[in-house]
């Protein structure tokens, strides 16, 4: 038996079954769609015809029974009913099971399908007694010796690639007791080339895309031609270069190099295209999933697919299969209400799930929207608060949207009951982890009572990723940018800036929290007496994030940021947990790619471990200063920090909108007049540069076209403090040193600068500024 033909048969059959499944589910909605019934019949007929060629008896018997039933269905002799759909879907499952067994073992497997065949026969015969059971094509063929009807051979004969006499001869041989299938006889007799059989199989493939997850893909011949052409060009350019170098004729070196560059880029794009697959391959299974799940959950759900032509690298398609399935599961189980509940709320009885894919900003967006009940924000809030998932000081600032994102936290489930579909508190965090593992991001939007949308943004490919190249102990390493939060450099050597704790880890005070530090040299067990001594003085720290844990990686040097081509380390080196692969840098040398989640695990950094370390630190006598959120701005040229709790809003006004009212400056704001006060003037620390009106600004001066205003509310009145710049919002543990100046609570070192911390209450009380009535 020819392995190539068999593989092709399997690939084609898996595809056809996926389509049949799809069509059956669609037929349930529209039982009169004759085209679909015809398609289903043809697909099953094809499987039957071809497996006869290979001699798979069990598969043939099953497909045969199915074909007979479908044939009557196609003629309209029996009606398409839900129970018929059920049986046919089970037929699809059974065919799939046998094909899978053939794929792995080359045998049909031990499973018995007699009851199913009986059921198919029963359904075929039961309803209308008028028509006699139609002649089964295969019986007819065995009796007459005619080639399989609608099988492989007809088109080959039609194309003149196969002599009808040879077929008759083969049939004759069969009648004389030759046990081989007719196709085998033809190939063995030399009447038929295996390649022709392959072509015939290919030509019959109705859905050209590959659905089943195996290791082959089909590539457009035109694309292959283009690639061949490019490779030719590449060889030409190489020869030119070699020639030039050999003869030391470097006259047009830049030209040739430029050509080489263009060819390489085009070749790279072309090769990438061969790996692209439409998302449709991913979505083929969804209608069946939705059907089965909605029956299991006792709900009515309609699935809509949009943008399924959107293409993605097939590794990514494989990687998001499970997350997508899970999201749909969740939407049906938790999101969509039962029909009664929906009707009571004035919605259509049938729920709707929309899966939508589209390109935007160089990424693929995948959305799963349901029109169910939305997320139970109140319950999420209650549960998260009880479980202490959110720091107490952050709770007042959490919007509903912020709360909704908590469903991605490990161990979080608000399902009131555990069903066999979902609700065990594992799931959404796994979805998030899987999505992030391929460099994607996930978020959820919810409208109470109207539904929820989960959005996934994923890169087009995993083969080329942007990365930061760092150096440690004489080697270079690539850190994927997805894991990189920021780069920091801390003056002074590590021992002096970090706190060592009982758990034997270095921690760095960072953005109001504690950042565990890992030295890449230590993590990779580079011997201390290496030929590459640890550089003295400050070393850069890459702040990395993976699987919810944040840590700082201390490296020797940061080199550059570039796109790298990911190459596998291959077995068995792949088992080293801290490397995701390797890449070849511009100079031809190899750099290992760090697997940041693996590195974090290797170094014992987990979300929980991080929390434990914070606790350990909390127990040490050194007081841990509570953090507060500060708005850092600039007034009169000096940095000033305002506690966020004192601030109502941050606004920007075009300079031209400032109006003068006597000595006061105001701006029309929310239907009233907002008095503006330059903060620098209020503090007496410099010129009121922030508030020059357009006319007052020095000609050609550096004044910006907008002014930045911190709106504060006091006793129900709003007042705008004009500043030169709003630098950033930060969470900082601040121990202010006491100040005697009015309106200043004290000073602290923030970002390396002495910064005044405002006491707005006192400042405004002392200034006696008039204010606008809030909400006026």
């Amino acid at each position: 038996m020819d392995e190539g033909i068999l593989a092709e048969f399997l690939a084609e059959s898996f595809e056809n079954l996926a389509q049949v499944e799809h069509d059956l589910v669609a037929l349930e909605r529209d039982p009169e769609d004759r085209k679909r019934i015809g398609g289903i019949f043809r697909a099953v007929h094809t499987i039957k015809g071809t497996c006869g060629f290979f001699g798979f008896k069990k598969l043939e018997a099953l497909a045969h029974a199915g074909e007979n039933l479908l044939s009557r269905l196609r003629c309209g002799e029996i009606a398409f009913t839900p129970s018929l759909a059920d049986t046919l879907l089970r037929l699809v499952d059974a065919l799939h099971a046998i094909l899978s067994a053939i794929e792995t073992t080359r045998q049909e497997g031990d499973q018995e399908f007699a009851p199913l065949i009986e059921e198919l026969v029963h359904l075929e015969r039961a309803p209308s007694g008028a028509a006699a059971p139609p002649d089964s094509p295969s019986t007819a063929e065995a009796e007459t010796g005619a080639p399989p009807r609608g099988g492989l051979l007809d088109p080959l004969i039609a194309e003149g690639r196969l002599d009808p006499d040879a077929v008759a001869l083969a049939a004759q041989q069969q009648r004389l007791g030759d046990p081989r299938r007719i196709g085998e006889i033809l190939v063995d007799n030399g009447a038929l080339k295996p390649q022709d059989v392959l072509d015939a199989l290919l030509a019959r493939g109705e859905a050209p895309a590959l659905a089943h997850g195996e290791s082959t893909i089909r590539v457009d011949v035109e694309l292959l031609d283009l690639l061949m052409n490019l490779v030719g060009e590449l060889v030409l350019a190489r020869n030119q270069l070699l020639q030039k170098v050999a003869s030391s004729d470097l006259a047009d070196l830049p030209g040739t190099t430029q050509r080489l560059n263009l060819i390489t880029t085009e070749l790279q794009e072309g090769i990438m295209k061969t790996r692209m697959q439409p998302i449709a391959n991913l979505c083929n299974k969804l209608p069946r999933l939705v059907r089965d799940l909605s029956i299991a959950c006792g709900k009515e759900v309609r699935l809509e697919l949009e943008g399924i032509d959107t293409e993605l690298d097939r590794t990514i398609i494989d990687a998001i299969r499970d997350p997508l399935t899970h999201l749909i599961r969740n939407a049906i189980d938790h999101g969509i209400e039962t029909s009664e509940a929906r009707l009571a709320r004035g919605k259509a009885a049938e729920g709707r799930i929309l899966v939508r894919a589209y390109h935007e900003g160089g990424k693929v967006h995948l959305e799963v929207t349901d029109d169910g009940d939305g997320l139970p924000i109140a319950r999420i809030r209650e549960k998260a608060t009880r479980a202490g998932l959110v720091p107490a000081e952050r709770i007042p600032r959490m919007s509903d949207r912020d709360w909704a994102q908590l469903i991605f936290q490990p161990g979080f489930s608000t399902a009131e009951r555990v069903t066999n579909v979902s609700g065990r508190g594992v799931g959404m965090d796994v979805v998030k982890t899987n999505v992030e593992r391929i460099g994607g991001a996930i978020e959820v939007d919810s409208q109470p009572g109207r539904g929820a949308t989960v959005r996934i943004r994923i890169p087009l490919t995993l083969a080329i990723v942007p990365a930061l190249i760092v150096a440690a102990a004489g080697e270079r390493y690539a850190i994927p940018q997805v894991n990189l939060l920021e780069l920091i450099r801390v003056e002074g050597d590590l021992a002096s800036i970090s706190i060592t704790t009982a758990v034997d880890a270095s921690l760095l005070r960072y953005r109001g929290g504690l950042l565990p530090l890992v030295d890449l040299r230590d993590a990779l067990h580079v011997p201390a007496d290496d030929a590459f001594p640890t550089p003295a003085g400050a070393r850069p720290i890459a702040v990395l994030q993976a699987d919810g844990a944040t840590f700082g990686l201390v490296v020797d040097a940061v080199e550059t940021s570039q796109e790298i081509v990911v190459k596998s380390l291959g077995d068995p080196l792949r088992q080293i947990p801290v490397f995701a692969g390797a890449t070849i840098l511009g100079d031809g040398k190899v750099a290992l790619i760090l697997d940041v989640p693996g590195l974090a695990r290797h170094c014992g950094i987990t979300v929980r471990g991080h929390a434990a370390m914070e606790e350990v630190v909390d127990e040490t006598p050194a007081p841990v200063v509570p953090t507060q959120t500060l708005i850092l701005c600039r007034a009169g040229g000096y940095p000033v920090a305002i506690p966020q709790s004192d601030i109502a809003r941050l606004e920007e006004f075009p300079r031209g909108t400032i109006e003068r009212l006597g000595e006061r400056r105001v701006v029309q704001y929310r239907g009233g007049l907002l008095p503006l006060v330059p903060l620098a003037g209020l503090l007496g620390i410099g010129p009121d540069a922030a508030l020059e009106t357009a006319a007052e600004a020095p000609a050609g001066g550096a004044s910006l076209q907008t002014i930045r205003v911190v709106v504060v509310e006091r006793e129900g009145h709003a007042i705008g403090l004009a500043v030169e710049e709003i630098v950033e919002i930060l969470e900082e543990p601040v121990v202010p040193e006491v100040s005697s100046r009015a309106g200043v609570r004290g000073s602290a070192v923030i970002r390396g600068h002495a910064t005044d911390l405002l006491d707005l209450e006192a400042l405004l009380a002392s200034s006696g500024q008039p204010a606008m009535a809030a909400g006026a």
């Binding site: 291959g570 390797a582 070849i584 190899v590």
Partner: protein
């Protein structure tokens, strides 16, 4: 001819070794090895073989021999492993030799024990002993 074997020979410390020519893909010199931390000790690192990442196994470490002197620039023999190509770092590459299968013998006890486990057997030559490596065992030992 029947009963003859063709071996690619090379030297590691004082050992004169050979591998069946069919398993050797190519011989390279001056390959830069990128260190691979956390790998098994015999895996010195990885090399860039025309855009493919290939592990570099240090035969000295496999055979538990002393490290090569700093001045020695190892040669690289790329072999076809069971899954993918692997490069073996050796001290020096010798000739391709044809030996008679009839002279093949079990590894004598005089060969150091650490090496004995990785050998298929020996071919006694006129002036010395040619030790035939068992590639499967070498690779298993390398990745252990």
């Amino acid at each position: 001819m029947e009963g003859e074997r063709v071996l690619c020979t090379f030297r590691v410390a004082e050992l004169f070794l050979g591998l069946d020519i069919a398993s050797v893909q190519e011989v390279l010199r001056g390959q830069e090895v990128t260190r691979l931390p956390l790998a098994a000790a015999p895996v010195r690192g990885i090399i860039n073989l025309r855009g493919r990442i290939v592990p570099a196994v240090d035969l000295r470490r496999c055979l538990e021999l002393a490290p090569a002197p700093e001045s020695l620039e190892p040669a690289t023999i790329v072999v076809r492993g069971p899954e993918a190509a692997v490069s073996l770092l050796v001290d020096d590459v010798g000739d391709v030799m044809t030996v008679s299968e009839e002279t093949f013998a079990r590894t004598p006890e005089t060969v150091r024990a650490s090496a004995r486990d990785l050998l298929r057997g020996v071919f006694p030559l006129e002036d010395r002993l040619l030790l035939e490596l068992d590639l499967g065992r070498v690779l298993r030992a390398a990745y252990a």
